[in-house]
């Protein structure tokens, strides 16, 4: 029972950590894409 509770907590926590990191990654992706697009337009 104790092991199940530990897996429950760490599993759910892990999913939320993973999704939070992905959220940050999406934000950074947007910034990177904008920076790349800007660099490209300056280069022209």
């Amino acid at each position: 029972m104790k092991t199940a509770l530990q897996i429950f907590a760490s599993g759910l926590g892990g999913v939320f950590i993973g999704m939070t990191l992905l959220y940050v990654a999406i934000r950074l992706t947007r910034l990177a894409a904008e920076a790349l697009a800007k660099g490209e337009s300056h280069g022209k």
């Binding site: 959220y23 990654a25 894409a33």
Partner: protein, 372 residues
């Protein structure tokens, strides 16, 4: 002459039939009927139903370890982790992450729905199930067939067939299971919340995202690598727009072929001895419980997020956090439009829907890490 006749009769399967096998024929017939007449997930339930029938033919030996044809499909396709990742390659090539990238906050609804997976896991283990079996039952709540099969083949192969049938049956029943939960947990006012239009997502973002997501998820949960790697590769094919032939192959031909080789051996794992056990009833019960709780936790998380947000989220979108792409997104849209005909929720619901796929894979990866 007499001896030859006797030998023929002795090797005829007819005389080796058991009542259990006949009952499995009935179950197979029901699944085949549902697939053909009702079109409930026919792509999977039809080959699964036929696989059940084949596995319950005495002396046919189709699931004979090392020899049987279906055993070979099962061993090399599923136990060797080949078919579920290939299905994910196709799904990735079909997935548009645009709605999620446009409103990234909706990614958390895909995480919220995974609470149902873990609550079911906890409930099943409290009922005395082995932790590996409990995890396999819990993952049904993620409403993702290939992930359920992937995890079951690793943690509880004896439950593979039942879990797959439960997962696909409940996915087909999303329009029946989810709406009552959605109505129960939301007010009429909440159901009419209109979402603000998301920003336009550039093609460059769509190309970068699968690469970044692969790195983030696999670095965090390496056990999820086979599924996530192929899912994101398929998506990169799609978004790169330079490998149209590969995208086309992954989306259609390959996906169709591996679907055949997934359904048939999964059904064939359901022989009378392993399936006709009280445990199978519990699998269907906990699978339904997981589905309902996942829907509920997604909705409740959306409501919780609204407490801290100025721009409110329609909590119905939380129900799309279970994978079941795109069925649950369609159900969200349908329920929302019953209360406000001009409320177009489908595109917004696709965000948590695809996030749910990723969330379920992460949940499965964590189970594998801790219990594998």
């Amino acid at each position: 002459m007499g001896n030859d006749m006797l030998a023929v009769f002795q090797t005829a399967g007819l005389f080796h039939l058991t009542p259990g096998m006949l009952l499995m024929w009935l179950i197979a017939s029901v699944l085949i009927y549902l697939a053909i007449a009702k079109q409930y997930e026919p792509l999977l339930l039809l080959p699964i139903g036929f696989g059940i029938l084949l596995a319950n033919l005495p002396l046919a030996g189709l699931m004979e370890p090392g020899e049987g044809l279906l055993w070979r499909f099962y061993h090399y396709g599923i136990q060797w982790e080949i078919i579920p990742p290939l299905i994910f390659l196709g799904l990735g090539a079909l997935t548009d992450f645009g709605p999620l990238l446009s409103k990234p906050v909706l990614i958390f609804l895909g995480a919220g729905a995974q609470a149902g997976v873990y609550l079911t896991f906890f409930a099943a283990s409290a009922m005395g199930f082995d932790l590996r079996e409990a995890a396999t039952m819990g993952i049904i709540g993620g409403a993702d067939g290939p992930t359920t099969i992937f995890l079951a083949s690793k943690l509880a192969p004896h439950m593979l067939g039942s879990c797959a049938v439960a997962a696909y049956s409940y996915m087909a029943l999303v329009p029946i299971i989810q709406p009552p939960v959605m109505r129960l947990l939301t007010t009429s006012k909440e159901r009419t919340i209109r979402m603000k239009k998301g920003r336009k997502v550039s093609q460059l973002e769509k190309i970068i995202f699968p690469i970044v997501a692969t790195l983030v998820i696999i670095l965090l949960v390496p056990a999820a690598a086979p599924l996530i790697a192929m899912f994101m590769l398929g998506n990169l094919f799609r978004e790169a727009k330079v490998v149209e032939r590969l995208t086309q192959a992954a989306q259609s031909e390959l996906l169709n072929i591996v679907t055949i080789f997934l359904g048939l051996p999964v059904g064939a794992t359901m022989n009378a001895e392993t399936f006709l056990q009280p445990r199978s009833l519990f699998i269907f019960f906990f699978g339904l419980f997981a589905f309902i709780v996942s829907t509920a936790t997604g909705i409740l998380l959306a409501k919780l997020m609204n407490l801290a947000r100025r721009e409110k989220i329609n909590p119905l979108l939380g129900a799309a956090g279970v994978s079941a792409v795109p069925m649950s997104a369609r159900v969200v849209h349908k329920v929302g439009s019953q209360y406000d005909k001009k409320n177009y929720l489908l595109m917004f619901a696709m965000g948590p829907n695809v996030a749910g796929v990723i969330g379920t894979v992460i949940a499965a990866g964590i189970f594998l890490t801790l219990l594998g």
